[in-house]
Protein backbone atom coordinates (compact mmCIF):
# COMPACT_ATOMS: atom_id res chain seq x y z
CA UNK A 1 0.00 0.00 0.00
CA UNK A 2 2.80 2.42 0.79
CA UNK A 3 3.93 2.18 -2.84
CA UNK A 4 0.81 3.99 -4.05
CA UNK A 5 1.55 7.14 -6.01
CA UNK A 6 0.97 10.41 -4.24
CA UNK A 7 -1.34 12.25 -6.61
CA UNK A 8 -2.07 15.84 -5.89
CA UNK A 9 -3.16 18.93 -7.66
CA UNK A 10 -2.35 20.82 -4.54
CA UNK A 11 1.42 20.33 -4.50
CA UNK A 12 1.87 24.03 -5.00
CA UNK A 13 -1.14 25.15 -2.98
CA UNK A 14 -0.65 26.79 0.38
CA UNK A 15 -4.17 25.96 1.43
CA UNK A 16 -4.73 22.95 3.69
CA UNK A 17 -4.64 20.06 3.02
CA UNK A 18 -1.23 20.24 1.40
CA UNK A 19 1.02 17.37 0.40
CA UNK A 20 2.49 17.42 3.94
CA UNK A 21 -0.75 15.86 5.16
CA UNK A 22 0.03 12.74 3.16
CA UNK A 23 3.72 12.60 3.99
CA UNK A 24 2.86 13.06 7.67
CA UNK A 25 0.32 10.26 7.55
CA UNK A 26 2.75 7.92 5.82
CA UNK A 27 5.26 8.56 8.58
CA UNK A 28 2.70 7.38 11.14
CA UNK A 29 3.15 3.63 11.64
CA UNK A 30 -0.37 3.35 13.03
CA UNK A 31 -2.06 4.76 9.96
CA UNK A 32 -3.00 3.15 6.67
CA UNK A 33 -5.22 4.42 3.87
CA UNK A 34 -8.69 2.92 3.64
CA UNK A 35 -10.32 1.85 0.38
CA UNK A 36 -13.32 3.74 -0.92
CA UNK A 37 -16.74 2.22 -0.27
CA UNK A 38 -19.08 4.80 -1.76
CA UNK A 39 -19.20 6.03 -5.33
CA UNK A 40 -21.44 8.91 -6.31
CA UNK A 41 -22.13 8.69 -10.04
CA UNK A 42 -23.21 11.91 -11.73
CA UNK A 43 -25.38 10.23 -14.31
CA UNK A 44 -26.80 13.50 -15.65
CA UNK A 45 -25.25 16.94 -15.25
CA UNK A 46 -28.36 19.04 -15.72
CA UNK A 47 -31.57 19.41 -13.73
CA UNK A 48 -35.20 19.92 -14.67
CA UNK A 49 -35.54 22.25 -11.67
CA UNK A 50 -33.81 25.55 -11.00
CA UNK A 51 -33.67 25.71 -7.19
CA UNK A 52 -32.11 29.02 -6.24
CA UNK A 53 -29.95 27.55 -3.45
CA UNK A 54 -28.45 24.65 -5.43
CA UNK A 55 -24.74 24.21 -4.73
CA UNK A 56 -24.21 22.65 -8.15
CA UNK A 57 -25.40 25.58 -10.23
CA UNK A 58 -25.93 28.59 -7.97
CA UNK A 59 -22.79 28.83 -5.83
CA UNK A 60 -19.11 29.29 -6.61
CA UNK A 61 -18.65 26.59 -9.24
CA UNK A 62 -19.35 26.72 -12.97
CA UNK A 63 -17.56 23.54 -14.10
CA UNK A 64 -20.91 21.83 -14.81
CA UNK A 65 -21.13 23.89 -17.99
CA UNK A 66 -18.19 21.91 -19.39
CA UNK A 67 -19.83 18.54 -18.71
CA UNK A 68 -21.70 16.46 -21.22
CA UNK A 69 -25.38 16.35 -20.29
CA UNK A 70 -25.65 12.62 -19.78
CA UNK A 71 -23.02 10.02 -18.98
CA UNK A 72 -22.16 7.95 -22.05
CA UNK A 73 -22.39 4.17 -22.06
CA UNK A 74 -18.63 3.94 -22.58
CA UNK A 75 -18.09 6.07 -19.46
CA UNK A 76 -20.49 3.85 -17.53
CA UNK A 77 -18.56 0.80 -18.73
CA UNK A 78 -15.18 2.24 -17.77
CA UNK A 79 -16.47 3.41 -14.38
CA UNK A 80 -17.74 -0.10 -13.67
CA UNK A 81 -14.34 -1.56 -14.58
CA UNK A 82 -12.40 0.91 -12.42
CA UNK A 83 -14.72 0.38 -9.50
CA UNK A 84 -14.45 -3.39 -9.83
CA UNK A 85 -10.66 -3.19 -9.97
CA UNK A 86 -10.66 -1.25 -6.71
CA UNK A 87 -13.02 -3.68 -5.05
CA UNK A 88 -10.98 -6.68 -6.17
CA UNK A 89 -7.78 -5.11 -4.84
CA UNK A 90 -9.35 -4.54 -1.42
CA UNK A 91 -11.93 -7.28 -1.19
CA UNK A 92 -10.67 -8.38 2.21
CA UNK A 93 -11.68 -4.97 3.56
CA UNK A 94 -14.97 -4.56 1.69
CA UNK A 95 -18.27 -6.38 2.09
CA UNK A 96 -20.44 -3.87 0.28
CA UNK A 97 -20.01 -0.87 -1.97
CA UNK A 98 -22.56 1.90 -2.26
CA UNK A 99 -23.32 3.41 -5.64
CA UNK A 100 -25.33 6.63 -5.44
CA UNK A 101 -26.88 7.92 -8.66
CA UNK A 102 -26.80 11.66 -8.55
CA UNK A 103 -26.92 14.72 -10.76
CA UNK A 104 -28.19 17.29 -11.65
CA UNK A 105 -31.31 15.18 -11.76
CA UNK A 106 -30.16 11.61 -12.41
CA UNK A 107 -33.57 10.40 -13.61
CA UNK A 108 -33.19 12.67 -16.66
CA UNK A 109 -30.87 9.96 -17.97
CA UNK A 110 -33.97 7.84 -18.53
CA UNK A 111 -34.98 4.34 -17.45
CA UNK A 112 -32.98 2.51 -20.10
CA UNK A 113 -29.70 4.12 -19.01
CA UNK A 114 -30.44 3.41 -15.35
CA UNK A 115 -31.08 -0.25 -16.12
CA UNK A 116 -27.90 -0.35 -18.20
CA UNK A 117 -25.74 1.16 -15.45
CA UNK A 118 -27.02 -1.19 -12.75
CA UNK A 119 -26.54 -4.20 -14.99
CA UNK A 120 -22.99 -3.21 -15.98
CA UNK A 121 -21.88 -2.45 -12.43
CA UNK A 122 -23.30 -5.72 -11.10
CA UNK A 123 -21.64 -7.63 -13.93
CA UNK A 124 -18.21 -6.21 -13.08
CA UNK A 125 -18.28 -6.29 -9.27
CA UNK A 126 -17.03 -9.68 -8.08
CA UNK A 127 -19.33 -12.20 -6.42
CA UNK A 128 -19.48 -11.86 -2.67
CA UNK A 129 -19.52 -8.07 -2.69
CA UNK A 130 -22.96 -6.48 -2.39
CA UNK A 131 -23.73 -3.43 -4.48
CA UNK A 132 -26.10 -1.08 -2.66
CA UNK A 133 -27.66 1.17 -5.31
CA UNK A 134 -29.36 4.42 -4.36
CA UNK A 135 -30.67 7.42 -6.26
CA UNK A 136 -31.16 10.95 -5.00
CA UNK A 137 -33.92 12.64 -6.96
CA UNK A 138 -36.30 15.56 -6.82
CA UNK A 139 -39.09 13.03 -7.40
CA UNK A 140 -40.75 14.85 -10.27
CA UNK A 141 -39.86 12.18 -12.85
CA UNK A 142 -41.02 9.15 -10.87
CA UNK A 143 -43.63 7.67 -13.21
CA UNK A 144 -44.47 4.00 -13.72
CA UNK A 145 -41.83 3.45 -16.38
CA UNK A 146 -39.11 4.92 -14.20
CA UNK A 147 -40.27 3.09 -11.10
CA UNK A 148 -40.27 -0.23 -12.99
CA UNK A 149 -36.65 0.40 -13.97
CA UNK A 150 -35.64 1.30 -10.42
CA UNK A 151 -37.48 -1.70 -9.01
CA UNK A 152 -35.99 -4.11 -11.51
CA UNK A 153 -32.53 -2.70 -10.78
CA UNK A 154 -32.93 -2.73 -6.99
CA UNK A 155 -32.24 0.98 -6.58
CA UNK A 156 -33.38 2.65 -3.36
CA UNK A 157 -34.91 6.10 -3.69
CA UNK A 158 -34.18 9.24 -1.67
CA UNK A 159 -36.27 12.32 -2.42
CA UNK A 160 -35.41 15.96 -1.82
CA UNK A 161 -38.32 18.05 -0.56
CA UNK A 162 -38.32 21.10 1.68
CA UNK A 163 -41.68 20.73 3.44
CA UNK A 164 -45.18 21.99 2.66
CA UNK A 165 -46.17 23.23 -0.79
CA UNK A 166 -45.72 26.87 0.14
CA UNK A 167 -42.37 26.24 1.84
CA UNK A 168 -41.02 23.89 -0.80
CA UNK A 169 -41.99 26.05 -3.73
CA UNK A 170 -40.29 29.11 -2.28
CA UNK A 171 -36.99 27.78 -3.63
CA UNK A 172 -37.56 24.47 -5.40
CA UNK A 173 -38.93 25.73 -8.70
CA UNK A 174 -38.81 25.03 -12.41
CA UNK A 175 -36.97 27.54 -14.54
CA UNK A 176 -40.31 29.16 -15.41
CA UNK A 177 -40.95 29.91 -11.75
CA UNK A 178 -43.55 27.20 -11.24
CA UNK A 179 -43.18 25.27 -7.98
CA UNK A 180 -42.17 21.60 -8.01
CA UNK A 181 -44.18 20.38 -5.01
CA UNK A 182 -47.16 18.98 -6.89
CA UNK A 183 -45.01 16.96 -9.28
CA UNK A 184 -42.79 15.70 -6.46
CA UNK A 185 -45.81 14.58 -4.44
CA UNK A 186 -47.20 12.74 -7.50
CA UNK A 187 -43.86 10.94 -7.67
CA UNK A 188 -43.83 10.11 -3.97
CA UNK A 189 -47.41 8.81 -4.18
CA UNK A 190 -46.48 6.51 -7.05
CA UNK A 191 -43.37 5.38 -5.21
CA UNK A 192 -45.39 4.34 -2.18
CA UNK A 193 -47.60 2.02 -4.24
CA UNK A 194 -46.90 -1.71 -4.49
CA UNK A 195 -44.53 -3.07 -5.56
CA UNK A 196 -42.31 -0.02 -5.25
CA UNK A 197 -42.88 0.96 -1.63
CA UNK A 198 -39.82 -0.84 -0.32
CA UNK A 199 -37.62 1.35 -2.51
CA UNK A 200 -38.66 4.49 -0.61
CA UNK A 201 -35.72 5.02 1.73
CA UNK A 202 -35.55 8.64 2.75
CA UNK A 203 -36.33 12.31 2.34
CA UNK A 204 -33.76 15.07 2.34
CA UNK A 205 -34.71 18.57 3.41
CA UNK A 206 -32.44 21.58 3.23
CA UNK A 207 -33.00 23.71 6.32
CA UNK A 208 -34.74 26.95 5.46
CA UNK A 209 -35.06 29.32 8.39
CA UNK A 210 -38.03 31.00 6.70
CA UNK A 211 -40.08 27.85 7.24
CA UNK A 212 -41.64 26.66 10.49
CA UNK A 213 -39.49 23.77 11.75
CA UNK A 214 -42.14 21.57 13.35
CA UNK A 215 -44.54 22.06 10.45
CA UNK A 216 -41.73 21.09 8.10
CA UNK A 217 -40.98 17.96 10.11
CA UNK A 218 -44.64 16.96 10.32
CA UNK A 219 -45.07 17.41 6.58
CA UNK A 220 -42.07 15.24 5.76
CA UNK A 221 -43.08 12.52 8.19
CA UNK A 222 -46.58 12.47 6.72
CA UNK A 223 -45.20 10.97 3.50
CA UNK A 224 -44.29 7.77 5.33
CA UNK A 225 -40.60 7.83 4.62
CA UNK A 226 -38.52 5.60 6.88
CA UNK A 227 -35.86 8.31 7.19
CA UNK A 228 -35.70 12.07 7.07
CA UNK A 229 -32.60 14.20 7.12
CA UNK A 230 -32.20 17.92 7.58
CA UNK A 231 -29.26 19.33 5.66
CA UNK A 232 -27.57 22.56 6.62
CA UNK A 233 -27.33 24.86 3.59
CA UNK A 234 -23.86 24.86 2.14
CA UNK A 235 -21.68 27.74 3.14
CA UNK A 236 -18.28 28.44 4.65
CA UNK A 237 -16.26 31.15 6.38
CA UNK A 238 -15.64 32.94 3.07
CA UNK A 239 -19.19 32.57 1.77
CA UNK A 240 -21.39 32.18 4.87
CA UNK A 241 -24.78 30.46 4.77
CA UNK A 242 -27.99 32.49 4.57
CA UNK A 243 -29.05 34.23 7.78
CA UNK A 244 -25.76 33.15 9.40
CA UNK A 245 -24.81 34.96 12.59
CA UNK A 246 -22.23 32.61 14.05
CA UNK A 247 -19.61 35.36 14.20
CA UNK A 248 -21.83 37.08 16.78
CA UNK A 249 -22.60 33.89 18.68
CA UNK A 250 -25.96 33.43 16.99
CA UNK A 251 -27.29 29.90 16.55
CA UNK A 252 -30.28 30.24 14.21
CA UNK A 253 -29.84 26.77 12.71
CA UNK A 254 -29.67 25.06 16.11
CA UNK A 255 -32.64 27.13 17.20
CA UNK A 256 -34.53 25.79 14.17
CA UNK A 257 -33.53 22.15 14.67
CA UNK A 258 -34.02 21.89 18.44
CA UNK A 259 -37.86 22.10 18.37
CA UNK A 260 -37.83 19.27 15.83
CA UNK A 261 -35.50 17.21 18.01
CA UNK A 262 -37.74 17.73 21.03
CA UNK A 263 -40.83 16.61 19.11
CA UNK A 264 -39.00 13.66 17.57
CA UNK A 265 -37.35 12.53 20.80
CA UNK A 266 -40.63 12.63 22.74
CA UNK A 267 -42.66 10.76 20.11
CA UNK A 268 -44.91 8.20 21.76
CA UNK A 269 -44.65 5.70 18.94
CA UNK A 270 -41.52 4.58 17.11
CA UNK A 271 -40.21 7.75 15.51
CA UNK A 272 -39.19 8.13 11.90
CA UNK A 273 -35.43 8.03 11.73
CA UNK A 274 -33.95 11.53 11.56
CA UNK A 275 -30.38 11.04 10.47
CA UNK A 276 -28.74 14.06 12.06
CA UNK A 277 -30.34 13.24 15.42
CA UNK A 278 -29.66 9.51 15.13
CA UNK A 279 -26.00 10.22 14.47
CA UNK A 280 -25.56 12.64 17.36
CA UNK A 281 -27.35 10.30 19.79
CA UNK A 282 -25.24 7.34 18.73
CA UNK A 283 -22.03 9.32 19.04
CA UNK A 284 -22.97 10.59 22.50
CA UNK A 285 -23.60 6.98 23.55
CA UNK A 286 -20.18 5.89 22.32
CA UNK A 287 -21.12 4.65 18.86
CA UNK A 288 -19.76 5.48 15.43
CA UNK A 289 -21.06 7.96 12.91
CA UNK A 290 -22.49 6.63 9.67
CA UNK A 291 -22.82 10.02 8.02
CA UNK A 292 -20.21 12.61 7.22
CA UNK A 293 -22.06 15.47 8.86
CA UNK A 294 -20.85 14.66 12.38
CA UNK A 295 -18.30 12.41 14.06
CA UNK A 296 -14.83 11.34 13.11
CA UNK A 297 -15.47 8.31 10.94
CA UNK A 298 -13.11 8.23 7.97
CA UNK A 299 -14.45 9.56 4.71
CA UNK A 300 -14.39 6.92 1.97
CA UNK A 301 -16.32 8.35 -0.94
CA UNK A 302 -15.49 9.50 -4.44
CA UNK A 303 -17.60 11.06 -7.17
CA UNK A 304 -17.50 10.15 -10.84
CA UNK A 305 -18.62 13.14 -12.89
CA UNK A 306 -20.66 12.85 -16.06
CA UNK A 307 -17.59 13.08 -18.30
CA UNK A 308 -15.66 10.49 -16.28
CA UNK A 309 -13.51 12.75 -14.12
CA UNK A 310 -12.89 11.37 -10.63
CA UNK A 311 -13.79 14.06 -8.12
CA UNK A 312 -14.14 14.69 -4.45
CA UNK A 313 -17.72 15.05 -3.29
CA UNK A 314 -19.43 17.86 -5.15
CA UNK A 315 -20.47 19.65 -1.97
CA UNK A 316 -16.99 21.15 -2.18
CA UNK A 317 -18.21 23.15 -5.16
CA UNK A 318 -19.77 25.41 -2.57
CA UNK A 319 -16.25 26.45 -1.46
CA UNK A 320 -14.85 27.68 -4.77
CA UNK A 321 -15.00 26.83 -8.44
CA UNK A 322 -13.19 23.56 -9.07
CA UNK A 323 -12.71 22.61 -5.40
CA UNK A 324 -14.00 19.12 -6.18
CA UNK A 325 -11.45 18.44 -8.93
CA UNK A 326 -8.71 15.88 -8.30
CA UNK A 327 -7.25 15.89 -11.82
CA UNK A 328 -7.92 12.18 -12.22
CA UNK A 329 -10.10 10.53 -14.85
CA UNK A 330 -11.42 7.01 -15.20
CA UNK A 331 -9.89 6.71 -18.69
CA UNK A 332 -6.39 7.26 -17.27
CA UNK A 333 -6.37 6.63 -13.57
CA UNK A 334 -7.25 3.88 -11.14
CA UNK A 335 -9.42 4.48 -8.09
CA UNK A 336 -6.46 3.34 -5.99
CA UNK A 337 -4.44 6.29 -7.27
CA UNK A 338 -6.59 8.64 -5.19
CA UNK A 339 -5.98 6.89 -1.88
CA UNK A 340 -3.00 9.04 -0.98
CA UNK A 341 -4.35 12.32 -2.27
CA UNK A 342 -4.08 14.88 0.56
CA UNK A 343 -7.76 15.68 0.13
CA UNK A 344 -8.57 12.06 0.93
CA UNK A 345 -5.94 11.45 3.59
CA UNK A 346 -6.97 14.57 5.50
CA UNK A 347 -10.44 13.09 5.95
CA UNK A 348 -9.24 9.68 7.05
CA UNK A 349 -7.03 10.94 9.88
CA UNK A 350 -9.62 11.52 12.59
CA UNK A 351 -8.49 14.15 15.05
CA UNK A 352 -5.28 14.69 13.08
CA UNK A 353 -7.46 16.26 10.41
CA UNK A 354 -8.99 18.84 12.73
CA UNK A 355 -7.79 22.34 13.59
CA UNK A 356 -6.51 23.29 17.05
CA UNK A 357 -9.82 24.91 17.98
CA UNK A 358 -11.72 21.69 17.29
CA UNK A 359 -9.16 19.55 19.05
CA UNK A 360 -9.52 21.65 22.19
CA UNK A 361 -13.33 21.40 22.13
CA UNK A 362 -15.01 19.08 24.68
CA UNK A 363 -17.55 17.83 22.13
CA UNK A 364 -14.96 17.21 19.43
CA UNK A 365 -15.64 13.50 19.08
CA UNK A 366 -19.37 14.04 18.56
CA UNK A 367 -19.17 17.08 16.30
CA UNK A 368 -16.08 15.94 14.42
CA UNK A 369 -15.73 19.43 12.97
CA UNK A 370 -18.99 19.12 11.07
CA UNK A 371 -19.22 18.72 7.32
CA UNK A 372 -15.85 19.19 5.64
CA UNK A 373 -17.18 21.64 3.04
CA UNK A 374 -18.43 23.93 5.80
CA UNK A 375 -14.90 24.39 7.22
CA UNK A 376 -13.47 26.18 4.20
CA UNK A 377 -11.89 29.60 4.49
CA UNK A 378 -9.95 31.27 1.71
CA UNK A 379 -6.30 31.21 2.69
CA UNK A 380 -6.37 28.43 5.27
CA UNK A 381 -8.42 25.91 3.31
CA UNK A 382 -10.30 23.33 5.36
CA UNK A 383 -8.28 23.51 8.60
CA UNK A 384 -10.93 25.46 10.48
CA UNK A 385 -13.97 24.75 12.63
CA UNK A 386 -17.26 24.50 10.81
CA UNK A 387 -18.93 27.77 9.90
CA UNK A 388 -21.78 26.16 11.85
CA UNK A 389 -19.60 25.67 14.96
CA UNK A 390 -21.88 27.63 17.29
CA UNK A 391 -24.99 25.90 15.94
CA UNK A 392 -23.50 22.41 16.18
CA UNK A 393 -22.31 23.02 19.72
CA UNK A 394 -25.73 24.24 20.85
CA UNK A 395 -27.57 21.37 19.17
CA UNK A 396 -25.24 18.68 20.50
CA UNK A 397 -25.28 20.06 24.04
CA UNK A 398 -29.08 20.26 23.95
CA UNK A 399 -29.31 16.61 22.93
CA UNK A 400 -26.78 15.64 25.57
CA UNK A 401 -28.63 17.53 28.29
CA UNK A 402 -31.96 16.03 27.22
CA UNK A 403 -30.68 12.48 27.52
CA UNK A 404 -29.02 13.14 30.85
CA UNK A 405 -32.16 14.75 32.28
CA UNK A 406 -34.23 11.71 31.32
CA UNK A 407 -31.85 9.33 32.98
CA UNK A 408 -31.49 11.37 36.12
CA UNK A 409 -35.27 11.48 36.45
CA UNK A 410 -35.45 7.71 36.19
CA UNK A 411 -32.83 7.27 38.87
CA UNK A 412 -34.55 9.44 41.43
Amino acid sequence: MRSLPIVSKSDTSTEWPTIEVTTGALADPNWKPLPFVEFVVKLHSRCNLACDYCYVYEMGDSTWKDQSKVMSKSTVDQTAVRLADHVKAHRDELKVVKVVLHGGEPLLAGPDMIRYLAQRFRAEIPDGIDVDFRVTTNGTLLDDTMLEALHASGIKVYISLDGSQEDNDRHRKYANGQGSFAAAVRGITALREDPYGDLFSGMLCTVNLENDPVETYDTLVSFGSPMVDFLLPHGNWTQPPPFWSGDQGGTPYADWLIPIFDRWYRAESKPTSVRIFDEVLALILGGQSRAETVGLSPFRSLTIDTNGSIDFCHQLKSAYSGAQITGSHIDRDSIDSLMLHPGVVARQRGTEGLCDTCNACPIRNVCGGGLYAHRYKKGTGYLNPSVYCADLKRLILHINETVLADINALLR
Binding site: L34, F36, V37, E38, V40, Y55, K98, V100, H102, R134, T136, Y158, S160, L204, L231, W264, Y265, A267, S269, K270, P271, F277, D278, L281, A282, I284, L285, G286, G287, Q288, S289, R290, A291, E292, T293, S297, P298, F299, R300, S301, C313, H314, Q315, R347, N365, L371, N400, V403, L404, D406, I407, L410, L411
Partner: protein, 75 residues
Protein backbone atom coordinates in the same frame (compact mmCIF):
# COMPACT_ATOMS: atom_id res chain seq x y z
CA UNK B 1 -14.56 7.25 29.35
CA UNK B 2 -13.52 5.81 26.03
CA UNK B 3 -16.05 4.63 23.47
CA UNK B 4 -14.82 1.08 23.96
CA UNK B 5 -15.46 1.47 27.66
CA UNK B 6 -18.96 2.76 27.02
CA UNK B 7 -19.74 -0.17 24.75
CA UNK B 8 -18.40 -2.65 27.27
CA UNK B 9 -20.65 -1.18 29.92
CA UNK B 10 -23.64 -1.21 27.60
CA UNK B 11 -23.13 -4.86 26.79
CA UNK B 12 -22.46 -5.81 30.37
CA UNK B 13 -25.57 -4.07 31.59
CA UNK B 14 -27.90 -5.32 28.87
CA UNK B 15 -30.42 -3.25 26.97
CA UNK B 16 -32.88 -2.65 29.81
CA UNK B 17 -30.21 -1.02 31.90
CA UNK B 18 -28.23 0.29 29.02
CA UNK B 19 -29.77 3.71 28.92
CA UNK B 20 -28.77 4.37 32.47
CA UNK B 21 -25.25 3.23 31.95
CA UNK B 22 -24.81 4.96 28.65
CA UNK B 23 -26.21 8.29 29.70
CA UNK B 24 -24.29 8.36 32.92
CA UNK B 25 -21.09 7.87 31.02
CA UNK B 26 -21.78 11.18 29.31
CA UNK B 27 -20.72 12.78 32.52
CA UNK B 28 -17.23 11.85 33.60
CA UNK B 29 -18.13 12.39 37.25
CA UNK B 30 -20.89 9.85 37.08
CA UNK B 31 -18.96 7.22 35.19
CA UNK B 32 -18.12 5.21 38.28
CA UNK B 33 -21.78 5.11 39.34
CA UNK B 34 -22.65 3.69 35.96
CA UNK B 35 -20.90 0.43 36.66
CA UNK B 36 -22.29 -0.05 40.14
CA UNK B 37 -24.52 -3.13 40.65
CA UNK B 38 -27.60 -1.18 41.73
CA UNK B 39 -27.63 0.81 38.50
CA UNK B 40 -27.12 -2.26 36.38
CA UNK B 41 -29.95 -4.03 38.14
CA UNK B 42 -32.78 -1.98 36.75
CA UNK B 43 -34.71 1.25 37.18
CA UNK B 44 -34.64 1.83 33.44
CA UNK B 45 -37.55 -0.28 32.29
CA UNK B 46 -39.38 2.95 31.44
CA UNK B 47 -37.14 3.54 28.45
CA UNK B 48 -38.93 1.91 25.56
CA UNK B 49 -36.90 0.01 23.04
CA UNK B 50 -38.96 1.81 20.38
CA UNK B 51 -38.14 5.27 21.66
CA UNK B 52 -35.49 7.41 20.01
CA UNK B 53 -33.14 6.73 22.90
CA UNK B 54 -33.88 3.01 23.00
CA UNK B 55 -33.27 2.70 19.27
CA UNK B 56 -30.01 4.61 19.57
CA UNK B 57 -28.82 2.31 22.33
CA UNK B 58 -29.69 -0.75 20.27
CA UNK B 59 -27.74 0.69 17.36
CA UNK B 60 -24.66 1.35 19.46
CA UNK B 61 -24.80 -2.16 20.88
CA UNK B 62 -24.94 -3.63 17.39
CA UNK B 63 -22.14 -1.47 16.02
CA UNK B 64 -19.04 -3.31 15.02
CA UNK B 65 -16.35 -1.26 16.74
CA UNK B 66 -13.77 -2.52 14.27
CA UNK B 67 -15.70 -1.36 11.22
CA UNK B 68 -14.90 1.89 9.48
CA UNK B 69 -18.10 3.45 8.20
CA UNK B 70 -18.08 5.84 5.30
CA UNK B 71 -19.62 9.19 4.85
CA UNK B 72 -22.81 9.39 2.95
CA UNK B 73 -24.33 11.77 0.49
CA UNK B 74 -25.57 15.11 1.68
CA UNK B 75 -27.60 16.54 -1.14
Amino acid sequence: MSNDGKRDLLKKAGLTAAATVAALTLSAGAASAASSPENESGATAQISENSALGLAIARVLSDDPTSTPSGYFNS
